[in-house]
């Protein structure tokens, strides 16, 4: 927990400093005409909003993982979870979804409508397959209350996969809307940003999943 906090604080501090040091040392009272830094972050509000949201989600998942680690170390009778095989397969499926989303994004960027459509469908289908796979993993671990109450490791597995799944569902809602616009004949140039943001979000969710998986496996 404290390690996470120190890491987050350091990371945030360095990032903030690199980004804004020159601006924060300006002397506004001298009333010189200053080069306005309006829109200096050369990107759209939606892009910044997404990065901020990913920061919030990162905080959420790192706190959950810290809680996992503390709960493990602070208690007696901790029993590790045997991760079902299907979870490995799910991980590959999610990676493929992320790849497909990237492909769709770059296809939109290069104006290739057909490819973009196929890649988008593939990304959606693979993501749904991932979610279905996670549900299978639940079945395999034992969906009964008895196991959830008996083993905190299993309870954590449920909570973490549910939370990650909900984030993915939110993403699916967004690409669902993008797909509707796409099918309705929207210009590719208007879809570029949405597709590019979706690709970033899918990579992010893949990274989060890999982190969760690694903690469950190795900690």
């Amino acid at each position: 927990m404290s390690n996470t906090a120190i890491f987050v604080a350091l990371f945030a501090g360095v990032a903030v400093w690199l980004g804004v040091a020159s601006r924060l040392t300006a002397k506004p009272w001298e009333n010189r005409e200053q080069p306005g830094d309006v829109g200096a972050l050369k990107s759209s509000p939606a892009r910044i909003g997404l990065w901020l949201f990913m920061a919030v989600a990162t905080s959420l998942f790192s706190l959950f993982l810290s809680a996992y680690s503390m709960r493990m170390h602070q208690s007696i009778g901790w029993c590790h979870l045997t991760i079902p095989r299907i979870v490995y397969a799910n991980t590959l499926v999610l990676a493929a979804a992320s790849l497909a989303m990237q492909l769709a994004s770059s296809a939109v960027g290069r104006g290739r409508r057909e490819l973009a459509r196929n890649a988008l469908v593939a990304a959606g289908a693979l993501s749904i397959a991932f979610l279905a796979g996670q549900v299978f993993a639940w079945q395999e671990i034992g969906p009964s209350l008895y196991f959830i109450q008996g083993s905190p490791a299993i309870a954590f597995f449920y909570v973490l996969t549910t939370l990650h799944g909900l984030h993915l569902l939110g993403g699916l809602y967004v690409i669902g809307r993008a797909a509707t616009r796409f099918a309705g004949g929207a210009e590719l140039i208007d879809l570029r940003q949405t597709f590019s943001l979706c690709a970033i979000y899918w990579h992010f969710l893949l990274l989060v999943w890999l982190a969760v998986f690694a903690v469950l496996l190795f900690l």
Binding site: A9, R23, L24, D37, V38, P45, A55, L63, A67, Q74
Partner: protein, 586 residues
């Protein structure tokens, strides 16, 4: 398609067409701000009534039979949670943040207006779920506002059935609402400033709200995590936080959970929360002092850096709330050190406020009275914080009224004084009317002296060893008679302060119709919100053209200038200096 900066786009972002779109499902930041403020103040009044009931019991034990021990704990819990989260956080960020950020930055609206609207309605849902717990069997939770397990979910604690669940669900909903609003505030500050409004030309109010929002975005997830895990412990019977417990001689199903883990998660949120409330207050009070003392804020850059430093440090002090939970002495040493370090940037801010007043042209308007009152209460509460930050001093004092006095002074009274000051300050812009000066002054003096009469004696009670959280003291041997007299006196003072709130509400509501029409810039302030073409600002804020900023927000009393203030959107005259160069010497 090249990206066009928001400041370079013209035309408002959306157009409301009907009454409902304009005032109910509104996407206008000003309407959303007022909606947020009204709900927050309403729920805050509920919490105020609860505190009055508790004081009746403490001041005159066994006189008021409707306050039994069970209710007392429910009142304490709801009072604390409502005041900290549903009133202060929502009012500073959802209320003032929403109103001031676009206006002070020169934007037409928030960058995601639809999400902003959703944020308010989800917040309202959180409040409804919270208040619903008053009406369920068993009533609201009485676990204390920190909701520590295991007692929060065990039978025997009031509201251990539905009450605690509604509380946790309400918190989770609140966090969703806050995240939607918070993404808006930060992105708007970063992306939607008008031409010339560099980061270092922003008024300190915006800096405070901006940093507080970032803290909230990173800290609220910790509360979310603990709320989710405790809900599961309470409903499904998991053992995240619940250790093996024997209840009435019977073992419960829980096993091996860690109550300390909850405390870490809770305070990892809980301490930044103090600054989520304090930083907007710091920012706003800086602007009030500078405007009403007709002087530039002393050490603007230092003020910004202090806000950033406090924000960063607030994430590494959380365990000072847990000294009595038992911890490794080195751990305690670390947290005591960081806690004392955070006093440095905070003290810098206090010095700068005082130095801003030094040789200023002080106008003792009502907002200024509240701002100066804040300096007193904040210094007072801050100094007792230094006592409690030290492990060895904290241990004997932690469970006494000393702590109650301390935190009410520093994060109850101080931010609320700023809230009052800010409402008086911006009321003419928000409503287009002036309030009654005399009633405002009466409100201030009753509040300021009254809160001192409440909280100053509590420090003395604490040093005598009067324990907090107790429903009644009974005939405890070591407590002198003066304790009971003081408790009665505190209760009377509390009722007087509560009455002053009635005066405030009367003033605010009646002035909506009876108040004088307000000029567009009654305080002769420099910041952009006072330069709007309409008062109150119309939809889209700025008419056909966005403003352009040429100077910082604090050009007061510039030598040679015709007026004693130069608004931010006035071009620079090379013949004039700036307030900063000469302001101190005239």
């Amino acid at each position: 398609m090249a990206y066009v900066a928001i400041a370079d786009r013209d035309a408002p972002i959306h157009h409301p067409h009907s009454f409902i779109e304009r005032y109910i499902w509104s996407q206008d930041h000003k309407v959303i701000a007022i909606q947020y403020a009204i709900v927050a103040i309403f729920v805050g009044l509920v919490a105020l009534v609860l505190s009055g009931l508790m004081r009746l019991q403490l001041g005159f034990p066994e006189q008021f039979h409707f306050v039994d021990p069970e209710h007392y704990y429910q009142f304490i819990t709801m009072h604390g949670m409502i005041m900290v989260i549903y009133l202060l956080t929502a009012l500073f960020l959802g209320g003032f943040g929403n109103y001031l950020i676009p206006l002070m930055c020169g934007a037409r609206d928030m960058v995601f207006p639809y999400m902003n609207m959703l944020s308010f309605w989800v917040y309202l849902l959180a409040v409804i779920v919270l208040l619903a717990s008053f009406f369920v069997p068993g009533g609201p939770t009485g676990a204390g506002w920190t909701l520590y397990p295991p007692q929060a979910v065990l039978t025997g604690t009031p509201g251990a059935g539905l009450g605690i669940k509604l509380m946790l669900i309400s918190l989770a909903i609140f966090i969703v609402a806050f995240t939607m609003g918070g993404l808006n505030y930060v992105t708007t500050v970063l992306q939607a400033r008008c031409r010339g409004m560099t980061l270092m030309r922003m008024p300190l109010s915006v800096w405070g709200i901006f940093m507080a929002t970032i803290l909230g975005l990173l800290a609220f997830p910790a509360l979310f995590v603990s709320a989710v895990m405790m809900t599961l412990d309470g409903t499904l019977g998991t053992s995240f936080f619940m250790p093996a417990v024997y209840s009435m001689g019977q073992p419960l199903d829980h096993n091996g959970g860690s109550p300390l883990l909850f405390q870490h998660l809770f305070w990892f949120f809980g301490h930044p929360e103090v600054y989520i409330v304090a930083l907007p207050a710091f920012g706003i009070v800086s602007d009030l002092l500078s405007t009403h003392a007709r002087k530039n804020i002393f050490g603007y850059r230092m003020m910004v850096w202090a806000i950033l430093a406090i924000g960063g440090l607030s994430f590494v002090v959380w365990a000072h709330h847990m000294y009595v939970s038992g911890m490794n002495p080195y751990f305690g040493f670390f947290f005591a050190t960081t806690t004392l370090i955070i006093a440095v940037p905070t003290a810098i801010k206090v010095y700068n406020w005082v130095l801003t007043l030094w040789k200023g042209d002080i106008h003792l308007t009502v907002p200024m009275l509240f701002a100066i009152g804040f300096i007193f209460t904040f210094v007072h509460g801050g100094l007792t914080g230094l006592f409690l930050g030290n492990v060895t001093v904290d241990l004997p004092l932690s469970d006494t009224y000393f702590v109650v006095g301390h935190f009410h002074m520093v994060m109850g009274v101080s931010p609320i004084l700023v809230v009052f000051g800010a409402i008086y300050h911006w009321y003419p812009k928000i409503t287009g009317r002036m309030w009654n000066e005399r009633l405002g002054q009466i409100h201030f003096w009753m509040t300021f002296l009254g809160t001192y009469a409440i909280y100053l004696p509590m420090h003395y009670l604490g040093i005598l060893g009067v324990p907090r959280r107790y429903y009644a003291l009974g005939n405890t041997e070591f407590l002198p008679q003066s304790v009971h007299t003081i408790n009665a006196a505190i209760t009377i003072a509390a009722l007087v302060v509560a009455a002053s709130v009635v005066i405030f509400l009367y003033n605010m509501i009646v002035s909506l119709w009876r108040g004088e029409k307000a000029p567009s810039n009654p305080w002769k302030a420099t910041t952009l919100e006072w330069q709007t073409p309409d008062t109150p600002p119309a939809h889209g804020n700025w008419g056909p053209r966005l403003p352009e900023v040429h100077r910082w927000a604090y050009d007061y009393s510039v030598p040679g200038a015709p007026d004693d203030f130069i608004p931010q959107n006035v071009p620079v005259d090379p013949k004039l200096g700036s307030g900063r160069d000469h302001g101190v010497h005239h």
